[in-house]
Symmetry: C3
């Protein structure tokens, strides 16, 4: 069985890190499915999804890592062509990937104690994001 | 229900970026499944799959990012042992990951307007790639 | 049909790379499922899962890449707050991601000949890890 839900999130952009674990768990609860997994997918090419221990220190550490690996102040071919200044946002999103899948059992996500599901919004402005949540199971 | 299909792609290697969205959508169409998701997986350890806004600027930006993060002209232990010169290709592929999963509804992939599914071939020569596409749904 | 299994692995931490392909294949065998895919997910926020050609050279190359991209001797906000010294472990794990999905057919994982499923343990000490394996198919 597959049940599709959506989560709408407002972000500040600029590599904003947002904990969406509670929202994902509530979609699993609502589905009534006990054994299975949940696909969390963000539509759009300047955001990504992963898991992290969600606390303010790591939020800054993740931002610094992306700034170091894919600097926002570098020249990007994308910016030359389109002038929207978010070349780094696209590259960061492609590197991280748009989705994560988390298994659950007895209706509870099988995350570690200090492991949360997060949306990362890399765009260079505030955005409204639509996240597709698919609950798959029995 | 799970339906397995294959896509065969010829690449130029060297971090070639190839849009395979149309091919993936056509496998979803062929399956007749309306609600579900599709797994796109590349067999092999020197290629990966992600999503990106597919346009020539970002294609170059992605290549530059991988060249910066995992340089092709560095020394690799893999090359010392095997002499095939594609140590960087393997490391890039492991970092990006071999697969992506995209949900669909009413038979249409739920990608953003400027979000395409791409194969990235990191090998240091032209390759023929086999991509496994699994359509899962109802 | 979804069947859930677990694999318990002892690691040395410090970006240990462990081939778990045989264990994953054996869970597919045990399930009796012939066509489908398997989700391999590590619970915890300092480890990740990917595929690689598993050989000693690439094991070192992967470690060097993570040391270069997310250095262990940098200052991390996480370490300031929590004092456990594994800020880099968390950031590496979030970048790699906690899971991989591999399709199989006729009961055999559709990996390339030189492509193995690996757990990467980024924590700064030895750990016992629990990996969730879900076999999905018909």
């Amino acid at each position: 069985m597959i049940k599709k839900e959506k989560i709408n999130i407002k972000t500040k952009g600029n590599t904003d890190v947002i904990d969406i674990t509670r929202e994902v768990q509530s979609k699993v609860d609502k589905s009534g499915v006990q054994e299975g997994h949940v696909l969390v997918f963000v539509s759009g090419s300047t955001a990504g999804v992963t898991t992290v221990e969600y606390e303010p220190g790591l939020e800054k550490d993740l931002k610094e890592m992306f700034e170091r690996v894919v600097p926002s102040d570098k020249d990007y071919y994308h910016n030359e062509r389109w002038g929207d200044g978010n070349g780094h946002s696209h590259v960061r999103a492609s590197l991280l990937g748009p989705s994560v899948i988390v298994p659950f059992s007895n209706g509870e996500l099988l995350l570690g104690t200090w492991q949360q599901i997060v949306l990362m919004d890399f765009d260079n402005r505030a955005r409204s994001r639509e996240i597709v949540v698919q609950v798959v199971g029995e």
